[in-house]
């Protein structure tokens, strides 16, 4: 079966005045299968929005190719636009002074729907996202969660087969975010494909079949959330105190140790790969009379940040 999305050597730079260009995407090659919910995970500035914009034809790539259901996003813009829906996060992007219904009807016209169809689909979608009761209220009176559901309804008007969601639940309270995720799962059951850009690991784990981790425009790894979770979560750590830095130099050479960082004067944290590694490192430290060692439990968030950010802290 044809891939829902396939990129090959995709690159995008932004030129800046008097400075080197920013590389937002660097040689990105990835594939998203049909009917998949694919998470695009990465910290701020990783290049998530850039990728989503290229795939939805809003932005042109600097090099490389991207295809949606076999259609090139540059050469075959028209076909791609009818196949994909773009759902932005945040509370911008709608006509705030107008009602939800008016917003959808106008967008129906932008998708070349005839008036009857636009009206029918707008009503059905408002019902579906739970906004039927507020259809004739101005968007400016809506909560964040309601706006987000309207964004989703707007992205669905032309019944796209592939949806790109850019941080759809950022700033939503947990209840609203949960309701939004349930909608996504329902829509997937209808056969749609989703690319979900997010920096929230728990969201990716809860929703996605596969996850691609990117940072600084480069892919770090791609796989099922469990594997990515293992990649991120396998990193355990041991905290200990010892006055002699020479010990830590020897420690850093062990195969189970990914790196050692200084926490304060005599306090150290050693990052290990996996539970067995931790056990061996603890034993190694005990043999050398380090008695204040204990297994640390970095949160997923910390591990994630350590993996993709904060590189400067390493020894």
């Amino acid at each position: 079966m044809e891939a829902a999305v396939h990129t090959s050597g995709l690159r995008r730079t932004y030129s800046r005045r008097h400075r080197d260009p920013v590389v937002a995407l660097d040689d990105l090659t990835m594939t998203i299968g049909q009917n998949e919910i694919h998470g695009l995970l990465g910290p701020n500035g990783a290049g998530k929005t850039t990728l989503v914009q290229i795939l939805s034809t809003v932005l042109l790539p600097s090099a490389g190719t991207a295809r949606v259901l076999g259609h090139d996003v540059v050469a075959d813009t028209r076909a791609v636009r009818s196949l994909v829906g773009l759902v932005l996060g945040g509370d911008r992007g709608l006509y705030d002074r107008l009602t939800a219904r008016r917003n959808l009807r106008f967008w129906g016209a932008l998708h070349k729907l005839d008036t009857r169809t636009a009206r029918r689909r707008a009503d059905a979608l408002l019902e579906r996202v739970g906004l039927a009761g507020r259809a004739d209220d101005r968007v400016e009176t809506f909560s964040r969660g309601m706006r987000q559901r309207l964004h989703l309804a707007r992205g669905l008007l032309h019944e796209p087969r592939v949806l790109f969601l850019d941080e759809p639940t950022s700033g939503l309270d947990p209840v609203a975010a949960g309701a939004f995720r349930r909608l996504v799962l329902e829509l997937r059951a209808e056969g749609r494909t989703f690319l979900l850009a997010t920096h929230d690991m728990d969201e990716a784990a809860a929703l996605c079949d596969r996850v691609t981790l990117i940072d600084r425009g480069r892919m770090l790894l791609t796989g099922d959330p469990a594997r990515v979770g293992r990649f991120l979560g396998d990193r355990e750590c041991v905290d200990f105190t010892h006055p002699d830095p020479a010990l830590t130099e020897a420690l850093a050479l062990l195969p189970d140790v990914s790196d050692v960082e200084r926490r304060d004067g005599t306090g150290w944290r050693v990052h290990t790969a996996g539970r067995d590694g931790t056990r061996r490192v603890l034993a190694w430290l005990l043999e050398r009379d380090v008695l204040t060692a204990r297994r640390g439990e970095p949160t997923l968030e910390e591990v994630y940040l350590r993996t993709v950010g904060d590189r400067g802290m390493r020894v």
Partner: protein
């Protein structure tokens, strides 16, 4: 056909937006004051022959101000509000959307003609008789059409230019002069005449005055000139709009301006 459909939906959108936020109908407050000023001048100067001019000028100015004031704002506002990128992601080009929204605003501006006439009639007791009402109606209609075309071009020019505010503030009087709105083009220095002929307003002003006096000679030429210049401006506007959308996609300036 689908382009006209999109324009029509943009008219409806603008109608809804204007009802919520009628700030640009403020120009309808200005027209009566302009008429009052101009009529007062003609009355104190004992020049009944230019009353027609004093009544027509505020109408044309209203049209132009409506177009100019609004045309440059549509795209930047959509961009600031984050609507630009989802709009680009749709299969419809941006040009007709802008044209449709401008058209709605121009219609509001056209109401300045009626206001101006009423001010003259009720305020000064000068009922401006229109000798050739059919031609007058035609002149107003095609002037509106040409204004929509020109405003679409202006919108694109204002978006691509780096000095939007300066341009917007300075595009008033040159066009009132070249358009023969305040005084007929014939009283301008000769070297300005060719320039004024490419400003559709100069043909419109002449045709409107002629239809009021009932001596509009060669009016089919004027009609053709107005429609031709308006169509050319519209074509250029749609082309330039497509250009800057593509430039934004290339340079990555789709988000904030």
């Amino acid at each position: 056909m689908s382009t006209l459909r999109v324009m029509w939906h943009a008219v409806l959108l603008q109608l809804a937006l204007s009802r919520r936020d009628p700030e640009h109908t403020l120009i309808l407050l200005i027209a009566p004051m302009q008429t009052t000023t101009m009529l007062a001048l003609t009355v104190t100067a004992h020049r009944p022959d230019v009353v027609a001019n004093a009544v027509l000028a505020p109408g044309l100015i209203g049209l132009w101000v409506a177009a100019l004031d609004y045309a440059g704002r549509i795209v930047p506002e959509d961009r600031w509000a984050g609507r630009f990128s989802p709009m680009i992601a749709t299969p419809v080009p941006l040009g007709p959307v802008v044209a449709g929204r401008v058209a709605m605003v121009v219609l509001v501006g056209a109401a300045a003609f009626a206001e101006s006439w009423l001010v003259a009639a009720l305020g000064f007791g000068r009922v401006l008789a229109v000798a050739d009402p059919a031609l007058f109606a035609l002149a107003v209609a095609i002037t509106c059409l040409a204004t929509v075309g020109t405003a679409t071009l202006l919108s694109a020019v204002l978006v691509v230019s780096r000095a939007r505010d300066v341009l917007q503030n300075s595009l008033g009087y040159p066009f009132y002069i070249l358009g023969g709105i305040l005084v007929p083009v014939t009283v301008l220095p000769g070297w300005l005449h060719p320039l004024s002929r490419v400003v559709f307003l100069s043909w419109s002003a002449e045709l409107l005055r002629g239809s009021v006096r009932g001596d509009a000679r060669g009016w089919p030429w004027s009609v053709a000139a107005i429609l031709g210049l308006g169509a050319a401006a519209m074509a250029a506007g749609l082309w330039l709009t497509r250009r800057y959308v593509n430039r934004a996609r290339r340079e990555g300036t789709v988000g904030f301006a």
